[in-house]
């Protein structure tokens, strides 16, 4: 199935990704081939039944909701590009 340009553009919106014109053409071809492979699953004649899922996570295993010491702020900020005691980003409100 050939994927339409509008579909790829929509997926780029959802994925927060941009391609230039050549990149868009290339990824359209690749995604068409990949989705053709994924389409094979449509021939499988069973329906998902969420009651049959094995629930392996026991909710009773969660810890008490008590605040615990976390990582030092300076250590976390050390990986940020621009810091001034906080994360610096472009203006969000024009």
């Amino acid at each position: 199935m050939a994927v339409e340009l509008s579909t790829i553009k929509h997926l780029c919106e959802l994925s927060k990704l941009d391609y230039d014109e050549a990149g868009m053409k290339k990824v359209m071809g690749e995604m068409s081939d990949i989705i053709e492979l994924m389409d094979e699953i449509k021939a499988f004649d069973l329906v998902y039944d969420d009651t049959k899922d094995e629930n392996e996570i026991s909710l009773s295993d969660t810890r008490e909701d008590i605040a615990e010491e976390s990582f030092p702020t300076e250590k976390l900020l050390s990986n940020a590009e621009n810091t001034d005691g906080c994360y610096v980003v472009p203006k969000v409100v024009e």
Binding site: T7, I8, H10, L11, C12, L14, S15, K16, L17, D18, Y19, V27, E30, M31, D33, I34, I35, E36, L37, M38, D39, E40, I41, K42, A43, F44, L46, V47, Y48, D49, D50, K52, D53, E54, E56, I57, S58, D61, T62, R63, F71, P72, K75, L76, S78, N79, A80, E81, N82, Y87, V89, P90, K91, V92
Partner: protein, 482 residues
Amino acid sequence: MDIKRTNIRALRKALDSKEISAAELCGEYFKRIEDADPRLLSYITVTKEKALQDAEKAQAVINAGNSAPLTGIPLAVKDNICIDGVRTTCASKMLENFIPPYNAAVIEKLNAQGYVLLGKTSMDEFAMGGSTQTSAFAKTRNPYDLERVPGGSSGGSAAAVAAGLAPAALGSDTGGSIRQPASFCGVTGIKPTYGRVSRYGLVAFASSLDQIGPIANDARDCALLLNAICGHDRHDATSANVDTPDFSEKIGKPISGLKIALPKEFFSDAVEPAVKQHVLDASKELEKRGAVLVDCSMPGLKYAVPAYYLIACAEAASNLSRFDGIKYGFRGEGRTYEELIRDSRSRGFGEEVKRRILLGNYALSSGYYDAYYKKALALKQEIIKEYNDIFGIADVILTPTAPTPAYKIGEQDNDPVKMYMADICTVTVNIAKLPAVSTTCGYTENGLPVGMSIIGRRFDETTVLQVADEWENGFAPISPKL
């Protein structure tokens, strides 16, 4: 001391008998890394200074006679496992300068035994690939033939162990990323049952499938490492609160009467004849040693690759949405918040990662969710049922680990579909959350290793390691010339 293909038990003896000190031992590995890694490209970061400090601490423990199995043992760690203060890149430009502020749970456990970190090994970017050629920093080569891929995504770990640049390493496995490179590089690797090992501190690719595990020279070393890293962890709600056995407990015990299933779909025309023959020959040898071979079928395998990629990519699209260039990671340019995020992601991620994010969002988006994602979940239920049926008549399952031996670098670069189909032998194990070990069962005419996988029931790692060890006892591995 000749460190090439030396197992951890031999190193333990050498350290405890003072034949070699912990510092001298890691010095030997660094010499080997300096000599061979410019050709092999298995490491992204080598941690020489830290290693010597770790070795000094370990030596004090050894001198006091308090050694744990891994005290002073040098190990390599895949570059998607966080180590406090050590650069962890996931082989991506996105995390080129990322230094984690904490240790993964498995690293805390290794630290408790006093291991020595040699460095961080290369991988496919964000563990997405089977060749280690999507790494942004070190496109690892196969030590048996430098023109071929080492497999992936834990290709750096497998190549380093095979070539004697580490006695063992940690990898991670989402769809075969420990077993397939172990197969291509002629070493042994185990993907534990989902939940056996904490994922805390493993950079997430597909959270319902990811699992950390060891790659080593043999099944006994894998058992030893698994003993060290397994167990419930309060930081990972999906880590299982179950008893942890000694994973060596069945090693050396006879396999007589053990039922080994051979699902016919794993021996189809999609698998190269030489690979098929080596695995079938190994099954006959195990039969001679007392195992009982059982024929069976797994019809769902036909749809396993699309089911796996739909689930894995859907989870990846969500997991990788955290990489926006704001708090950490590569930061692009932009006049607005939106432009900044889009530029950071478009230039920070490589092409394969971007393709998988697009596919994941396709599977999850309105209008396609039922047709793709929910269908993949139905397949998951079917595959689990088919495995349960087989485990009703057999104790373990034997399959090829990969349809081919290691292929030439560049051979699959422009064909994502071909690359995805190469995962056919491994992905169902992750979907069904089972343990599986890959060990070498032969070599092709041109000297490339061929791996076979032994798959077990959930939380039955001891039996798959028992069978792998039984096979390895009668097998003479050939080391790479590198």
